[in-house]
Each structure stands twice: as C-alpha cells, then as structure tokens.
C-alpha cells in the first residue's frame, strides 16, 4: 500500500506543521511561494527600504537636536524664516509626494494587475469556497460534485479562480504565501487568484473576525503535481465507499441514526445534512475542525465525545453514544478515504 505510506508521511508533516511542531513560515507573507505573493513581498521590501531611509533621516535630525540641546539654533537657519519654511516644503511636501506617486503607480497598477482576481474564462479551474462559522466548505464545480472541507487541493502551475462566498457572517480567505486576502461577504461573490509552481502545503486562516471561534478557523492549500491532483479530485468526487464489514456497517448505522446525518452529508447515504462539513471522504483529510486537531482515530474519538472542549461554541453537540457506538463511528469515518 504505497498510498497509505505516503499518507502517513503527509500526516506526520501535517501534524508537525499544524498542531505540534515549530515549522513556522508556512503562513508568512515574507516567504512567498507564488508569483503574486512574491510581487507583493517585493513591493513590501521596497516600501520598507524607503521607510528605513525616512526613519533613519528623521532620527539623525532628532539626534542632532539632542546633541545641540540647550544651545541656540543652527546659525545658518536660525533666523531665516523663509529658509526654514522652504525646508518644510521640500522635505514635507515635495519629496514625500514624489516618492509616493512612484510607489502608488507601481503598487496599484503594476503589482495590482499581477495579483488581481483572474478572469474566470481564462482559468482552467474554479474552486468555490464557502465560509461557515467556523469551517471552510470547498467545492469543485463541474466535477460531478466533489466537496470537501478545510483542505483545498490545487494543481501546481495552474491559475485557479477561487470564488469566495459566505453562508453566515463575514469571513476572509487568506493564504499569505500564495496571494492577498479576499473577504467573504453574504450576498457578494468575490474572487481571488491562487497559483503556485511550488508543490507544498500552505496554511490559510480566516482574517475577518467572525465570532467566538475565529481563532480556530484555519485551512490549508495543498499544491500538488497536476496528475496527483486529478487523482485526488476524482476520488473526492465519488460517493462514499460502501461499508465492507460489519463494523463499518454498524458505524454507518450510527452516523445515520444517532443524529450525525442531520448536520453532515455523506454522499451515497441518506445523510444529507448541510450544517457541518461534508464527511464523504473525511478519512482522507489530515486534520479536523478547521485544522484544530490532527485527524487520528483517538483525536476524532475525543472530538466526537466532547466537541465543545477543544473548540467551545462550535455548532456540534455531544451525542449520547455508547463507547462501542463511538468506536464503530470512528472506524467508519476514518475508513472514508
């Protein structure tokens, strides 16, 4: 099962990056992994450089004032009001205005164009992301209904049109290493470009305060080779794998009868709830609860036992399940790959 091994490896990476480890950097504006993000980072470094010159200059002037404290003014300028007014006009108006016009043109015409939302007709792939309190619903329109949550996959080297909407309050879709953010506003359809040549996994997070668990509304974008992406997408588009053994059948029974299905969908079953994330292929995901915990059987079990412990305020209630029921449910869900 080479596939399994690969997954285990990914899981280890994910656990490191998302939950326990200190890998850092995978949410950083300053470590861009795409052309648009690189353009913006470069723009920032230039602005920082200019700012450093201004701050440095001002500090030198103030230091000069400090060194000359309690001494009368610089003789040349001391009495000449015209000269001092001239200094104010040149350094306070002319120079900053010139520099700013330059930055304005570069930023808002050149860089803005390179990072702008794409024309949907020119992009080969559209991903619809819907913000919910507090998870991300991810749909791949035109792929016979692939739906997942919190973990986007996109093919490397492909311009992807992300359509961002919200189901409840305002959220904001932000993957710092890939591009600028875009708000998700009820009644509006916003778009943003995702595009990267670098295979890898990049973290995103909701950037607009959206209520109690705003802090635990994270997601990831996996950029993978196109072939692997196509395989992943085909897998995600399928209905759930029918239960193969008694344990799994029991688990599906629990899912359908104990209340899970009133909020969650598992395609291929009668469970069609639309409040929580689609669980058709939940076993293929690396994390749970919008990247709050790793997707391992013990973590999933403790999540089902007490969803309010780790992420208080989320909409999932604790169901009255016996230990055996919960074990069967966990085994079933983890088997949904």
């Amino acid at each position: 099962m080479p596939r399994r091994r690969h997954r285990a490896g990914l899981l280890a990476v994910a656990a490191c990056a998302l939950v326990a480890g200190g890998c850092g950097r995978d949410q950083s504006v300053l470590h861009p992994e795409s052309e648009p993000a690189r353009e913006i980072a470069t723009l920032f470094w230039w602005m920082l450089g200019i700012s450093a010159v201004v701050i440095g200059g001002a500090l030198v002037l103030l230091l000069l004032g400090w060194l000359r404290r309690e001494q009368p003014g610089i003789p040349l300028l001391g009495g000449a009001e015209r000269l001092t007014t001239g200094v104010v006009i040149v350094f306070g108006i002319v120079i900053p205005l010139t520099v700013n016009v330059g930055v304005f043109v570069v930023a808002n015409f050149v860089v803005a164009q390179a990072t702008d939302a794409p024309n949907p007709r020119t992009t080969p792939l559209t991903v619809a992301v819907v913000g919910h309190q507090w998870f991300w619903e991810v749909r791949y329109p035109g792929t016979s209904g692939a739906v997942t949550a919190n973990e986007l996959h996109i093919p490397a080297g492909t311009r992807v049109n992300v359509v961002a909407t919200s189901d409840d309050v305002i959220h904001s879709f932000w993957v710092p290493q890939l591009n600028r953010k875009i708000d998700m506003i009820p009644g509006r359809t916003n778009r943003v470009l995702l595009e990267s040549d670098h295979v890898g996994r990049y973290r995103g997070q909701c950037a607009e305060f959206c209520g109690l668990q705003h802090a635990h509304m994270r997601f990831s974008v996996t950029v993978e080779p196109p072939a692997r992406f196509r395989a992943w997408l085909a897998e995600q588009a399928r209905d759930r794998m029918p239960p193969r053994n008694a344990g799994a059948r029991l688990g599906e029974g629990v899912f359908l009868d104990a209340g899970c299905a009133s909020c969650h969908t598992i395609r291929g079953t009668t469970g069609r709830g639309e409040i929580g994330p689609d669980l058709t292929h939940v076993g293929s995901r690396d994390t749970l609860a919008a990247l709050t915990i790793p997707n391992t059987p013990p973590e999933l079990a403790s999540w089902i036992r007490d969803p309010q412990h780790i992420k208080p305020g989320n909409r999932m209630p604790a169901l009255a399940l016996t230990g055996a029921q919960r074990a069967a449910l966990v085994a079933y869900l983890e088997g949904l790959r």
Binding site: V29, T85, V88, N100, T115
Partner: protein, 636 residues
C-alpha cells in the same frame, strides 16, 4: 478716591471678581458647576478611569496571548476584552480626554476667555459622557458586554448571530456618547470663533486652537453617519428591519461604509488634538516660534478635511471595483502632505531653536518617532495589493497602535506634564518624569513593534489563541512583556504626579517661559481665569512683555476687568475686535438633570420600553426649558 494706590485698587477688583465667580463648594458645587476648568477636570479624571479600564483589558489580552493555547481568558471573555478595549480607548478615553479635558480646560485660557461659550451645555456634555460610559460598562457588569469588535461588522452584530444585549449596549452607547461629543464640539467652535481676546485675530490664534477647531468641525460632521449606522443596526435588531440583512434585500457593506465614513475622520479626531499639544510644547521648549506657522495651521485643517474622503481604504479587501479602490488609495496618499508639513515643521523648529529636553519635550520627541513609524506603515496601506495582505493582520494592529497610542496618547501624556504646574500649582518631579517617559517609550516599542512582524508572519488580528507551531510564540511573548513594561512606565508617571500634586514645589505662573495666554494667569487659574481680559498683538502673546505690563496697568485702571457679573467680551470672528459684553450663565443643576433624563431614554430603549423612552425624552426637553428659564437669584 485718590487715597487708594494702584496695588490696592487691583486687589479690590480681583476680590470683586472672586465674589462674582465663586461657585458653591463641596460635592454640590461639582454637581452644579459650569466652570470649564472644573468640568475639564471631571472629564480628565473620568477619562483616566476609563483609560485604566481599557488598560486592564489590554493587559488581559496580552496575558492571554503570552504563549500558545493559553487559558487566561475564555474565548468569549477574550472577545469582550478586545471589543471593550477598543470602544473604551477610542470613545471613552482619547476623545473625551483630548476634547473634554484638554480642550475644555485650556482652550478658553489660551484665547483669553473666562469660560466656554455655553457653560451649561458644557456641564451637560460631561454628565452625558459619564452616563454613556457607565451605560456601556453596565453591559459588562451584567454579563452582556459587547463582543463583536469596536467596528461590529454585520451580520455578526445582527440579532441572528449576536442575540445577547451586548451589541445593543454598544450601539446605543455610541449614540449616547455622540451626544456629548457633538455638544462639546459646538461649544468649542463657538468659543473659538467668538470669545477670543481682543486683538487675537485668526492669524494670531495659537496652533493648539486651530487643531481643536479642526477637530470640532470634524466631530460635527463625522458623528451623524455613526449615529445613522447604529440607529439602523438597532432598527434591524429590535424591530426586524432589514437594512443590513441580505436575505431581506439589505447590504452588509452599508454598515461598513457608514461606519468608516465616521471611522476614518475619527482617526484624525483622535490625532489632531495631539498635534495641537505638540505645537504648544515645541515652541516653549525650543525658545523659538513655530517654523511655517501658516502652513501648519492650514495643514491641521486640511487633515480634518481630507480625512472625510478616504474611508474605503478600510475596505480594500471587500471586493470593490478597482476604480473605487484606486481612487481611495490616491486620496489616502494626499494625507501625506499635511502630515509631512507638520512633521518637518516640528523637526525644523527643534533643530533651529534652543531645545531643552525637559519631560514634556521628551514625550513630543517620542511622539515624533512613533508618528513617523506609524505614518510610514500607514502609507503602505495605500498600496492596495499590500493592504490586502496586511489588513486584518497584526500588522494593522501594530500600525494603529503606533498612531493612536504613539502619536495621539504620547502628546496627551506630555501635555499632562506640561500643564501640570498650571492646573495644580505645583511642579512634578523632573527626574521621575523623564524616567516615566523612557519606560513608556521602551514599553511601547517592545509591545507594538513585533506586531508588525507577527502580522507579516500571517497572524490575523482578534484571535484568542494560536497554535504553538505557528511561529508566533516568541513575538507574542515579547509583546506581552513590553505591555507590562509600558504599564510600569504609566504607573511611574501616575505615582510621580500624585505625589507631586500634594508635595511638589510650588509652581510659578509661568514655569516654562511659555508663549500662550494660559501662562499669564496664576497657577492654578482663578475661577474667572483673567483679572483683566488680555489684549493680544501677536501669535505668541506671553513673549510680548510690553502687552502683559499694559494688562497689569489696566487692572489698576479698571479697564477690561468686567467685574459687574459673569461678564465676558465677545469679539468679531475674523479680527477679534471687541464686539459686545456677554453675561455668562452661572452654575445650575439642570444640565445634570437633563443628562439623567437622557440616560433614562437610553436605558428604556435598551430594555425595549419605547413608550417610556419617549416619556423620558419629553422630560429631557422640559428640563432644557427649565435650564433656560430658571436663573438662580443674583444673576442678571
């Protein structure tokens, strides 16, 4: 009559003024006062109490974020803490302390007046402010604190997603404080235009007064959109209207537009008084007239004006058309012009003067550094693609704390030191004053600078916790330690000033060789401010020795003493030629009662008793009538 010599005559006239302007003593005196200095002090101490509350909230926030996955505050408590922190610092601390305390206390003194133009309206402003502040904090006391952030975006703030009363406390509380700010703004505008001492034409008015005039106008025009926004929100929440509800054809973005049409001018409302304080302190401690005085005056007014045309730069990530965002980015860059003028005017004045780095000027020095940092990070937001990376991250938190704490509060703190001798009649301790500055400055840098980095490393604002693997732990630890250092600096200042108020050396009238009229009178000033209404011939009246000598002669001769009652000269608006002598109203309990009735309106609206609220409204109007009709005996 020839038996009396000049000093005796002067003394007799001063005693007469003392009698005329004396107010009731004790608690009742404070409750019924209309004296701008007493009201200013009440604003000051009330605002400080809210500053303390906002500061405690800030320390709680920072302590929760000291490390990943901390549990100092629950998510709910954290959200309440940052919401109240923002609301308190902006609406209940910075604006009231600058407009209500500094403007109230100092503006009449600087223009040579005996009070504000509408003393009872002034008292009313204060009581409304106090009631509104208590109103907002009542929410916290009964476990219904607002928790949707200081700009409370809908639909999060709608009834559906925020069913509790917290948002109602917020929305009604803001309307309520708006009444106070509007009244003070009108008062300051009329005072500045009409009560200036003879000779103080507009071009001789201190830059401090220009700043406060600009702020007052900005407040007057900025508050209505906020009132409209919050009223529509309440209509949505209480009566099922759908202004912001997309399912009923409303628009969530309408709230954002209305809020920021208020919110951006508010930024300049917060910072302009600080500019005014800086332009008061710098000439005094550099022994030099302000460089480019007319340019700075124009710049102060321009800042207030341009501030109304840039609000969409708070909304660059909401998906507006490019043409809109580019226009607002360009407009935002124009702010650089007035800011650049003032910045270089301050720096050039320091460089070409004889700078004496006593505590007040140190705070201004710190202010200049922090303002440059905050200004530059602000300009970066006019680069739209960068804005869309940095907005709603800790980078923006860093930016606006540099601007609001660094650029607005530092001059306020420097101003407290600067005018401490005038207000208390005692000197503060210079060494400890300087120590408090360096501690606070270092604390500010250590707290807020790493936030730039945290934001660029991807940390969104308003998260109650973060994962240990996110790479933000070291930065957050540093910020929290910085916050404790900052608090230590402010504590040092408090101890210094409290001790000095009781045991400091007695202050002379003009300890700094200041340039404006407040230094002409005694420390602390008498109830009537000036025994003789001063005559002004330049923008630096205290440096015109001959004029001040002439004032003292007038006292003996009885010219412009105006001791026949609460007399105050009114001048022409532009040239400040003496126009008429006004009889100012005296102390009165009606403003307090009117404010209480208004509080009744808001409490009843909050509890949903609209009919009773209307009743209280009628009572408030009736009390306004009493206020105008019933004069205490003895008044003309």
């Amino acid at each position: 009559m020839t038996a009396l010599d000049e000093p005796t005559l002067a003394r007799l006239r001063t005693e007469r003024l003392e009698r005329v302007w004396a107010e009731r003593s004790g608690l009742l005196g404070w409750l019924t006062t209309t004296n701008h200095k007493r009201i200013g002090l009440m604003f000051f101490f009330t605002a400080l109490a809210f500053f303390l509350a906002g500061g405690v909230e800030a320390l709680l926030i920072r302590t929760q974020l000291i490390g990943p996955n901390e549990h100092v505050l629950s998510p709910q408590a954290y959200n309440e803490a940052f919401t109240l922190h923002g609301v308190t610092m902006i609406f209940l601390f910075v604006v009231p302390i600058s407009i209500g305390a500094f403007g109230n206390y100092l503006l009449p003194l600087m223009i040579g007046a005996r009070d504000l133009a509408f003393p009872r309206l002034n008292a009313f402003s204060y009581w409304v402010y106090l009631a509104a502040g208590l109103f907002v904090y009542t929410g916290l006391a009964i476990g219904q604190a607002p928790d949707t952030g200081w700009f409370s975006y809908v639909p999060l703030a709608s009834k559906q997603y925020s069913p509790g009363a917290g948002v109602d406390f917020y929305a009604l509380g803001l309307i309520f404080t708006g009444v106070s700010s509007t009244a003070t703004a009108i008062n300051l505008i009329v005072t500045t235009f009409k009560l200036r001492a003879p000779g103080m034409s507009l071009n001789r008015m201190p830059l401090f007064c220009y700043a406060f005039l600009a702020v007052s106008f900005a407040l007057l025009f900025a508050l209505p959109p906020l009132t409209v926004a919050t009223m529509l929100l309440e209509l949505d929440r209480r009566l099922g209207f759908e202004f912001y509800d997309v399912t009923g054809g409303g628009l969530p973005l309408l709230w954002q537009h209305l809020f920021w049409i208020f919110g951006h001018p508010e930024v300049y409302i917060i910072i302009l008084p600080a500019f005014g304080i800086a332009t008061s302190i710098i000439p005094t401690f550099t022994r030099r007239r302000m460089v480019a005085f007319p340019l700075v005056a124009v710049a102060e007014i321009l800042v207030a004006f341009i501030g109304f045309g840039v609000w969409v730069h708070h909304m660059f990530a909401v998906g507006l058309p490019t043409i809109t965002t580019i226009y607002f980015a360009a407009a935002s860059l124009v702010i650089v012009i007035p800011s650049g003028i003032q910045l270089f005017a301050w720096i050039t004045t320091i460089l070409t003067g004889t700078p004496i780095f006593k505590t007040p000027l140190l705070w201004i020095l710190g202010f200049i550094v922090l303002f440059i940092v905050g200004g530059l990070s602000g300009i970066m937001f006019a680069a739209i693609p960068f804005d869309q990376q940095a907005t709603d991250s800790y980078f923006v938190v860093a930016h606006f704390h540099y601007v609001i704490f660094g650029a607005a509060v530092f001059p306020i703190l420097g101003g407290i030191y600067y005018w401490f001798p005038k207000v208390t009649g005692r000197m503060y301790h210079e060494r400890w004053g300087q120590a408090s500055f360096w501690l606070t400055f270092a604390g500010t840098m250590v707290t807020f600078f790493p936030m730039h980095v945290a934001g660029l490393e991807g940390m969104p604002r308003r998260v109650y916790t973060y994962a240990s693997g996110a790479g933000w732990s070291g930065l957050n630890l540093t910020e929290t330690l910085g916050a404790y250092l900052l608090a230590a600096g402010l504590l040092t200042m408090t101890v210094n000033l409290v001790a000095s108020a009781f045991r400091g050396a007695l202050a002379p009238d003009d300890p700094w060789h200041g340039d404006t009229l407040e230094w002409a009178t005694t420390s602390p000033p008498p109830a009537y401010n000036f025994a003789v209404i001063p005559t002004v011939t330049s923008a630096y009246p205290l440096w015109d020795d001959a004029d001040r000598v002439a004032d003292r002669r007038r006292l003996a001769r009885g010219e412009m003493v105006l001791a026949g009652g609460h007399e105050q000269p009114a001048s022409t608006t532009l040239d400040a030629e003496l126009d008429e002598i006004l009889e100012m109203p005296s102390e009165s309990p009606w403003p307090l009662f009117a404010a209480l009735a208004l509080a009744g309106v808001f409490v009843m609206l909050l509890t949903g008793h609209v009919a009773i609220a209307l009743g209280f409204g009628a009572v408030a109007v009736a009390l306004l009538a009493c206020w105008h009709v019933w004069e205490p005996e003895g008044a003309a």
